[in-house]
């Protein structure tokens, strides 16, 4: 018996998020309420499929053996899937509370990219694995769940802050440059993942799987492909820069969003920050019970602290220094970049105790 029903549902969820994203973008472009409702419907459907995927994976792990069964948040695939699930869940709640569908176009790509990335990355195992002894702890579960709830809140703050910068653009200044580059990079990551997906299907037929990310683009064995990738990257950034004003005009049609965006960005950070704090503390409790040290300055711990420091700076700047609007939005975006690095950069680039969660 193959234990991969969870993967089927995972795929359904991933494609749902892709379609939802397309519909959310169309909703912005055509301002048609029906399109918006379809987008929300697909999102809820995807969330349902994703929930089933996680539940089935949990069940399947117990089917594999009573000693293997565990809540599916222990390796990179499981925790990123859980993270994407949380993003969609919190986003759905925000959408309902604020009765505003305009954020969707900015949140769905984050979740979809996370899902696609863990699916395409050749060195991330998608299988259910038994837990090594140190990971069998309830503190670990609280640690992972609170951390990811926090990360998801920050992801939403990121999308909304980006939107804030776009809506409040008057001219092609430095802030304009900043957010067009951000959008360009997101598009570039999309292209890289698609290239990897194509490369993956090709190489499966040829001689097994690829070994690295970006083998279909920047790290291809064919020099021409590498060169072309850089040309494309520059082209995407240039197009993003050239079309930025069009994106702004598209969003400008939605009334009174500016203050609300600022508010949502702050609110989600105000929710994410306590969660991240609890995540770091429960991680420390867990480390103390497993290794006898609550804080060891390993890269993962340090990066979670860096993220915490950035958002702490955001809160101080906003609450006591009166930072609102653009400056706060930029800090929120930088905070989320630190979140991404805490999770992916550390696992893929730096070493440390958390290497059990690493690719491989």
């Amino acid at each position: 018996m193959a234990f991969d029903i969870n993967i089927k549902f995972f795929e359904i969820a991933t494609f749902s998020y892709l379609f939802a994203m397309v519909f959310y973008i169309c909703y912005l472009a055509f301002k048609n309420q029906t399109v918006g409702k379809i987008a929300s419907g697909i999102t809820y459907f995807g969330l349902l499929a994703h929930t089933v995927s996680i539940g089935v994976r949990w069940w399947e792990s117990y089917k594999m053996g009573a000693d293997i069964g565990h809540i599916p948040i222990s390796n990179l695939f499981e925790s990123m899937s859980f993270g994407a699930w949380t993003i969609i869940l919190i986003y759905s709640l925000v959408e309902m509370k604020y009765k505003n569908r305009t954020f969707g176009a900015f949140i769905m790509p984050v979740a979809f990219l996370a899902m696609t990335y863990i699916f395409v990355a050749p060195n991330i195992s998608k299988g259910i694995e038994p837990l090594v002894p140190a990971l069998k702890s309830y503190w670990l579960h609280i640690h992972v769940i609170t951390s990811f709830l926090g990360y998801a809140a920050f992801a939403i703050s990121f999308g909304v802050s980006l939107m804030y910068l776009i809506v409040n653009t008057q001219e092609k200044d430095r802030v304009y440059f900043f957010w067009t580059v951000c959008i360009g990079l997101v598009v570039a990551v999309f292209a890289v993942l698609i290239a990897d997906a194509v490369q993956l299907t090709q190489s499966v037929f040829a001689q097994g799987q690829g070994k690295h990310m970006m083998e279909g683009s920047f790290r291809s064995s064919i020099p021409a492909v590498v060169a072309l990738s850089y040309v494309f990257l520059v082209a995407i950034l240039a197009v993003s820069w050239a079309l930025g004003m069009k994106i702004r005009d598209m969003l400008a049609g939605f009334a009174n969003t500016s203050e609300q965006l600022d508010e949502v960005a702050y609110k989600t950070i105000a929710i994410g920050f306590p969660l991240l704090t609890v995540g770091i503390i429960t991680g420390a409790v867990w480390a103390n019970s497993a290794w006898g040290t609550y804080w060891g300055w390993d890269p993962k711990e340090t990066w979670s602290l860096i993220t915490w420091l950035i958002y702490a700076a955001y809160l101080h700047a906003r609450l006591t220094r009166g930072w609102r609007g653009k400056r706060a939005a930029i800090l929120s975006i930088i905070g989320f970049l630190a979140v991404i690095f805490t999770f992916l950069g550390v696992n893929l680039l730096l070493s440390g105790l958390h290497s059990y969660g690493a690719a491989g």
Binding site: G292, Y294, I306, A338
Partner: protein, 491 residues
């Protein structure tokens, strides 16, 4: 947003001149934001430069400055504290500045908060009505006293405990709740200082050590791996009691991967067996605040069969030979013999070579391999490893590494225990609990104030003015305020 005029008492500043300047420097929140961002930035350095083993940075440095300059660059890193930067004077200095910043800001702002919290709420005046967040006015066809009863009930149903007053024939009801929120931020800031104090206590008087106990044997001291700053203990810390390993058990998944390992330990204190526990990775034994963590294991001497890979230094095919621990075998093609000493399951590369200190994720199996001449005299001893490069023998033209090792059924093990003593850890946890509580109070509660003024216009009609103020979370207060207005003004 503060609608009440509050004149804080002047804070006593220490002296004048330079001291006052230092005080003012630390009293700024701008400094806080700068310190937080600087701490975030410098922390990045320590995640790029390996902090555990300085030598691990050689490869990266060789890539940056060329292999010839790598050693010099590493020495520079070590000297400037960058390979142990979280304990360097300048990082500790930044943390001290943050502490001073928190302390001074607290002293500066506390009087103002005390004034806000202790000031008595006054009935609504036309003057104060101008500065509230929300207001509503309506003429109602009801006499003042029935409106008052209704308003009182409405306030009580929403968790307020209203006070009453009559001013110039007008009836006043006013109430406030959630004053506690004003202290939230102080709790958070104090909690950070508490965590720092806990960490300092740990590094001054706490230690970390490692000890191996063979099954059936006991120890009364452990090798220090992290020495306390304010206690002179030498290399070995006496435990003050004895710990015996009664039994070691290893469980594996069907794949052979270890799924758990357990040591049954007995503490003998003052000649009596005082504690007994089967420990596993996440579940240590605790006696007199000294904790014993299951960290590694390995076969006891004479209980393992080692598979050694022998490869010619000039290149060529690798051959594998089996040696029982403690046993001696001839090294083919040379007049020498190999003897295998203790086998370790968890070896990592330290700055001066391999050390038995790792855990099951980063460690390698390792063994001391002794090279003997034909008269069985020791020529040299090398550390042979499985996952890291072994030490290169000088006397023979072969490299020797560990292919694997086997343990026969019924073989005896030793258990590797990490020993920690941290008297500050409880202080750290208290700080953490305070931090979470403080953040919850600061973010999710708010100081709400409401006023209701009822002005009788004639016998059966009155004008009701409802006002409300909140120090944060304005949007959720707006909904609350609307509900209050509806309840008071409904028929």
């Amino acid at each position: 947003m503060e609608e009440q005029k509050v004149t804080p008492k002047q804070v006593q500043k220490p002296g004048g001149g330079p001291l006052a300047a230092v005080w003012d420097f630390f009293a700024s929140v701008k400094l806080t934001v700068i310190l937080l961002i600087v701490l975030a930035l410098v922390s990045v350095i320590g995640t790029v430069i390996d902090q555990t083993e300085p030598a691990k940075n050689l490869q990266m440095l060789a890539g940056m400055f060329g292999p010839a300059n790598a050693q010099g660059a590493l020495e520079f890193l070590v000297k400037s504290g960058l390979t142990n930067m979280y304990h360097s004077w300048w990082f500790v200095g930044l943390l001290s500045m943050l502490s001073a910043n928190i302390f001074v800001c607290t002293i500066e702002r506390l009087p103002r908060t005390i004034a806000i919290v202790t000031i008595r709420q006054e009935p609504l005046t036309d003057e104060s009505l101008k500065s509230v967040n929300m207001k509503d006015e309506k003429r109602m066809k009801a006499d003042a006293s029935s409106v008052k009863e209704k308003a009182k009930a409405a306030l009580k149903s929403m968790g307020y405990n209203p006070k009453e007053a009559e001013v110039d024939g007008e009836i006043h009801l006013y109430a406030e709740k959630g004053k506690l929120t004003r202290w939230g931020v102080y709790v958070v800031h104090a909690s950070i200082l508490v965590v720092f104090v806990g960490a300092l206590i740990g590094s001054f008087w706490g230690y970390k050590a490692y000890v191996q106990i063979m099954e059936g044997q006991s120890v009364d001291a452990a090798q220090l791996t992290n020495k306390p700053l304010l206690r002179n203990l030498g290399d070995e810390v006496p435990l003050g009691f004895q710990v015996r390993c009664d039994k070691f058990e290893l469980e594996t998944y069907a794949s052979g991967m270890p799924s758990g390992y357990y040591s049954t330990l007995t503490v003998i204190d003052g000649g009596k067996e005082v504690a007994h526990k089967r420990i596993r990775v996440n579940d240590p034994l605790d006696h007199k605040s000294i904790r014993f963590f299951q960290s590694s294991y390995g076969p006891a001497p004479g209980n393992a069969i080692l598979i050694l890979g022998i490869s010619p230094k000039q290149g060529g095919e690798e051959k594998f030979i089996e040696v029982r621990q403690g046993g001696t075998v001839p090294l083919e093609g040379t007049p020498y013999f190999l003897n295998v000493g203790q086998v370790f399951a968890n070896v990592v590369m330290g700055p001066e070579g391999p050390v038995v200190e790792g855990n099951e994720y980063e460690g390698s199996s390792g063994a001391n391999v002794v090279i003997l001449d034909k008269d069985k005299n020791v020529v040299e001893t090398i550390a042979a490893l499985q996952r890291f490069p072994s030490q290169e023998p000088k006397s023979v033209p072969f490299n020797i590494h560990i292919g694997d090792y086997k343990v026969g059924p019924g073989a005896k093990y030793y258990t590797g225990l990490q020993v920690t003593y941290d008297p500050g850890v409880w202080v750290v946890w208290i700080g953490c609990i305070l931090m979470v509580l403080g953040i919850l109070i600061a973010f999710f509660t708010s100081h709400k104030r409401v006023w209701i003024r009822i002005k009788p216009t004639d016998k059966s009609a009155s004008t009701v003015t409802i006002a409300g103020s909140v120090n944060k979370n304005k949007y959720s207060f707006e909904a609350d305020f609307k509900k209050l207005v509806e309840k008071v003004e409904s028929h």
